[in-house]
Every structure is written in C-alpha cells, then in structure tokens.
C-alpha cells in the first residue's frame, strides 16, 4: 500500500506542478490591469488591486484613435468565425473522405496536404499575395478569410480521428444494409465525430484569431486590422504603460477563454467521452 500511495503522490505532484506552470501567467495577466504601476512592481504578483484601475486602463486603451480597438475586436471576430465555418464545411468531410477513401490519388492528396502544411509561410506569402491581387481581393476581408479557411491541419486532424476512432465493422455493416455513403456520413458518422468537429472548430478559430502574418500583409487600413496586429502596434505606442498593454492582451484572450469554456464540454471532455461511447 505505501508504494501505491507514494505513486499517487508523485503523480499528483507532477500534475499540480504543470498546472501551476500553465495557469500562473494567465492569472497574472488577468490581475495585472487591476493594479497601479506602483502596485504592479511592489505588491504580490497574485494580489487583486481594484476595478477602478481596470476601468482606467480600458478607457486609456479605448480612447486610442477613436475607439479603433473596438473595431479590431469586431474584425477579428468576423474573420475568425467566417474562416471556421468554411473550414468545418470543407476540412472535416475531406478528412473523412481520405480516411475511408479507396480512390487513385488519395495518397497524393495526403502527401501534398502534408507538404503544404510544412511549407514555410514566408515562401507562400508572395505567391498567395499575387493570387489574391489577381482576384482583386487585397485589402478586403476575403483576403484574410480565404487563407485562414485553408486549414490542412484540420483535414489531418479529421483524417486521423476517423482513422482511429471509427470501427470499420460499423461502416461495413451499414454498407451491407445498403446505406449510401452520404447517409452513412450524415446519420451514423456525424453524431459519433461531433467532438472532432469541435476540435477542428476550436483550432481553426484560435489559429485565425491569433494569426499575425496574413492580416499584417493583406490589410492596410488601421480600421481593418485584427487584434494581434493592432496590439503589436500598440506595444510601441503604449510601451511605458504596462497596464494598457495587459488590458489589451486580456481583451484578446477573454473571447477565446469564453469560447473554450463554452466548447470544453464538447472538446476537453467530449473528445474523450464520445470516442469511448
């Protein structure tokens, strides 16, 4: 028994240590805007200041360039949600098709997907810029949404998910019963793999929300920027104001945190549960 207890203790200690490492900076970030500059340096890092400072930091940030910060939030939300919707409609079925597929070119598509996934963005920037320019999209929201919506990572995620989570007997049984491929997909598979949809949705949304390179190249008016690009610009402007930056970072994080909490039932718990059931 003592050996077992020891094992349990070590296990818990490791899990808790990592929990502190992952969570402490997030808590610090959420608390930072509540403090004055002085308190930020002198008081305990995990103490709570007061809401007055939050309001001040936010007003400082919000007043910048005629509420441009609010428009950045709206823009980022719009780009990320549109890209997520397109990715779900395109990538998840593609991953399924590649997992169950028996057609010539299947391995080629898989390989090419992998190749373009590891293709450095710096190399793709110019060609894609020229393509979008030829389509007269530069500066428009589609110039950001379309590259975001191409999400080979999601195709692979869905591919491996279907490959490992689907019992082949189930598909075979359905086929023997005469169900068409679309019906199998819609009535049998979609319910089973809903958690994988949640995973792809979260990854697309977060990647698009946080992306820096494309918006900074494609969008040229301050009004059209996204939060990460705007924030990086603010870092120079507010370099002496810790709290305004921390408040700005918090603003980019809070929507994602809310999204996580809303989706965690499907993702963190669901990805596990549904596979089992």
């Amino acid at each position: 028994m003592p050996v077992r207890m020891l094992g349990l203790g070590v296990r818990l200690a490791i899990l808790l240590t990592f929990a502190v490492f992952f969570v402490a900076p997030v808590i610090w970030l959420l608390l930072a805007p509540t403090k004055s500059d002085q308190e930020l340096i002198t008081s305990s890092p995990f103490s709570f200041g007061d809401f007055h400072h939050v309001a001040l930091a936010w007003r400082h940030l919000d007043a910048f360039s005629d509420h441009v910060f609010r428009r950045w939030i709206g823009n980022t939300l719009y780009y990320a949600l549109s890209a997520t919707a397109i990715t779900l409609a395109v990538s998840v079925p593609a991953g399924y098709g590649l997992a169950i597929g028996r057609f010539p070119g299947r391995k080629l598509i898989l390989s090419l997907t992998l190749v373009v996934m590891i293709m450095p963005a710096a190399a793709l920037v110019l060609p894609i810029f020229l393509e979008l320019d030829a389509m007269h999209l530069i500066g428009r929201s589609l110039s950001v949404i379309l590259p975001f919506a191409f999400f080979p990572f999601g195709v692979y995620l869905a591919y491996i998910y279907y490959l490992t989570a689907l019992p082949p007997e189930l598909l075979d049984a359905a086929r023997v019963d005469g169900a068409g491929e679309w019906r199998i997909w819609w009535q049998i598979l979609l319910p089973i793999v809903r958690p994988s949809l949640a995973a792809v949705a979260i990854f697309t949304f977060v990647t698009s929300w946080n992306d820096f390179l494309w918006p900074s190249l494609m969008l040229h008016t301050p009004d059209g920027l996204t939060l990460p690009v705007g924030l990086a610009a603010l870092q120079g402007f507010f370099s002496s104001d810790f709290r305004a930056i921390a408040a700005g970072v918090t603003m980019t994080v809070v929507p994602i945190l809310l999204f996580f909490i809303a989706a965690q039932r499907y993702f963190v718990r669901g990805l596990a549960g549904a596979v089992k059931g």
């Binding site: 900076p25 930072a32 079925p93 057609f103 710096a122 970072v249």
Partner: protein, 304 residues
C-alpha cells in the same frame, strides 16, 4: 494505390455492385480548390522562384549558394534547429507522460487538469509573447525569484540574453501548445478498448507496464502527427523572435530565425529569389523530418 487485399470480400463485392463514384472522393472534392489555390500553386511558384533570378532566368542552385554564404544564414538555422530540438523533446516527453498520467485518473479531476493545461492555448501568437515578456521581466514577474536565482537575471535584458532565447521560445511554444496536444492524446488513449487494459491487468501487468507496452504503441500515430507538425512549425519560428526583437531595443537581430531572414530578404531587400531559396531549405528540412517519421510509424496506412 491502396491495398485492396485487406478489405473483407463482402465489402469488396458491395462496392463493386453499388457504387459508381470511388468511395470517399466526393467528400474530398470541395477541399481540392483550397489545396490547389492556397497550397500547391504557391508552393510550385516558390520552388520556381528559388531556381530563377529576378528576370525569371534559370540559375540552378545559385540562390542556394548565395544565401548559404550570407553571414546571417548559419546563426539563423542554428537558432531554429536548437529551438526545435528543445521544443520537440519537451513535447514528446511531457505531453505523453502527462496524457498517460491523466488517463486513468478520476474523470472529474482529469478533465479539470486538461482544461487548465489547455488554457494558455487561448494566448497563442503575439499575446503569449507579450505575456512572457512580462514574466521574464524581473521587476514585475511572479517568477522573479526563479529568474534571479536560476537564470541569474536582474534586469529584463539579461533574461532575454541571446543565448537564452532558443530555450525561452521553446518554453513559450510548449506553454501555449502542449495543452492542446495533451487533450488530443488523451482522446486517443480513450479509443483503446477497456477490455484490453483489463486483460493486461488480470495478467498481472503494473500500471507502468500497461502505459509503456500497451497504451504507448496504440497512440503512435498521434505522436507521429504531433512531431511532424511541430517539427515543421518549429523550423518556421517567426512571430516570437519578431516581437522580442521589437522589445529588445536592438539586442536581438531581426534575422534571428531562418523564417525572419527569408522575410527580411523578401520585404526589405526585395530579393524574393533568395527568400524562396531559404524557404525551400526549410521545406527540405521539414520534409526529411516528416518522411522519417511517416515511414517509421506507418502514418498513411489505412488498415491497422
């Protein structure tokens, strides 16, 4: 292309009788335009740029030789490879260990831990770097004790000394990305039939033996996928050094990583051919890595 021998006969028969369209293909079709426009075509164009000059004339591997002899080339690739090695080692070790530790815990505690680990994923990209700039600044950091005694840093500039950067970036990347992979691995572990684990336990296998001999081989595909992707994204490091460079008052060069060097060559010197050559170098490194991992783990096989 695929091994039809492994398909049970009755399925084969059904397929031949009932279907005109190759199975699976219709699902893939909507994806193809995206793959071509945003993946294949730009890649081909970049490959073309790498072997031509400004006028479009063929120059062979001249661009590669030229960039290889650039004084920034060596350090940039060294930084990136060191960073990637540290990050991958951390990912492979800790993600697998933490997922295995979480698997088999009481489900509520386990789901809380997974959520906490995943939380920093909300801060990927520039937000994460900004947070860690605070964390590495001894004047405001909650870990100033650690910075002071382990890194010996009393001021911000010492924390982000060039020698520390590969490790710092590896830590930031681990901090933001590991939780997502832990969730994915945990999900993969749950696809293992409980009876299999039960049988091993009855045979007298210890939890450690079950983890190493039974669970680990079964999540091989996921580990492979994680490594391929992380290897590739690791060598493409861009945003983190870019932001640290802005914050470092010239201490960190704007060509610290290979991808930054390519970016600078393209957009400051308008030398797209040299930039493309470096991108192709990175692609080659990523491909070699991916090829080794794919062939060693059978990632593309559909029947196992």
């Amino acid at each position: 292309v695929s091994s039809s021998a492994a398909i049970p006969h009755h399925v084969e028969a059904t397929r031949k009788r009932g279907l005109h369209v190759p199975r699976g293909l219709p699902f893939v079709l909507p994806y193809l335009p995206f793959l071509i426009v945003f993946g294949i075509a730009p890649t081909v164009y970049a490959l073309d740029l790498a072997v031509t000059d400004v006028g479009g004339g063929w120059v062979g591997y001249d661009n590669f030789v030229r960039t290889f002899h650039d004084f920034r080339f060596g350090p940039a690739f060294k930084h990136v490879l060191l960073y990637t090695a540290v990050w991958l080692a951390a990912l492979m070790l800790f993600v697998v260990v933490l997922a295995l530790l979480l698997h088999g815990r009481a489900s509520r505690a386990s789901s809380t831990f997974r959520f906490l680990y995943y939380l920093p994923g909300a801060l990927a990209g520039s937000a994460a770097v900004l947070v860690w700039l605070f964390m590495l600044d001894p004047t405001v950091s909650p870990g100033s004790f650690f910075l002071h005694h382990v890194l010996g840093a009393n001021i911000f500039a010492q924390s982000i000394a060039p020698g520390n950067l590969p490790y710092i970036f590896a830590m930031i990347a681990f901090w933001t990305g590991a939780g997502g992979w832990i969730v994915v691995m945990y999900g993969a572990l749950n696809t293992i039939p409980p009876d299999l684990e039960e049988a091993a336990r009855i045979d007298g296998a210890s939890p450690l033996q079950i983890a190493v001999r039974l669970k680990l081989p079964l999540i091989r595909k996921w580990i492979a996928y994680m490594l391929i992707l992380s290897f590739a994204t690791g060598t493409q490091l861009f945003v983190e050094p870019e932001i640290v460079q802005h914050a470092s008052f010239g201490l960190v060069p704007d060509t610290w990583s290979a991808n930054q060097l390519a970016y600078q060559l393209a957009f400051r010197y308008a030398d797209f051919n040299a930039a493309a050559a470096i991108a192709v170098d990175l692609l080659a490194i990523g491909l070699i890595g991916a090829l080794v991992i794919v062939t060693r783990t059978g990632l593309f096989r559909t029947d196992d």
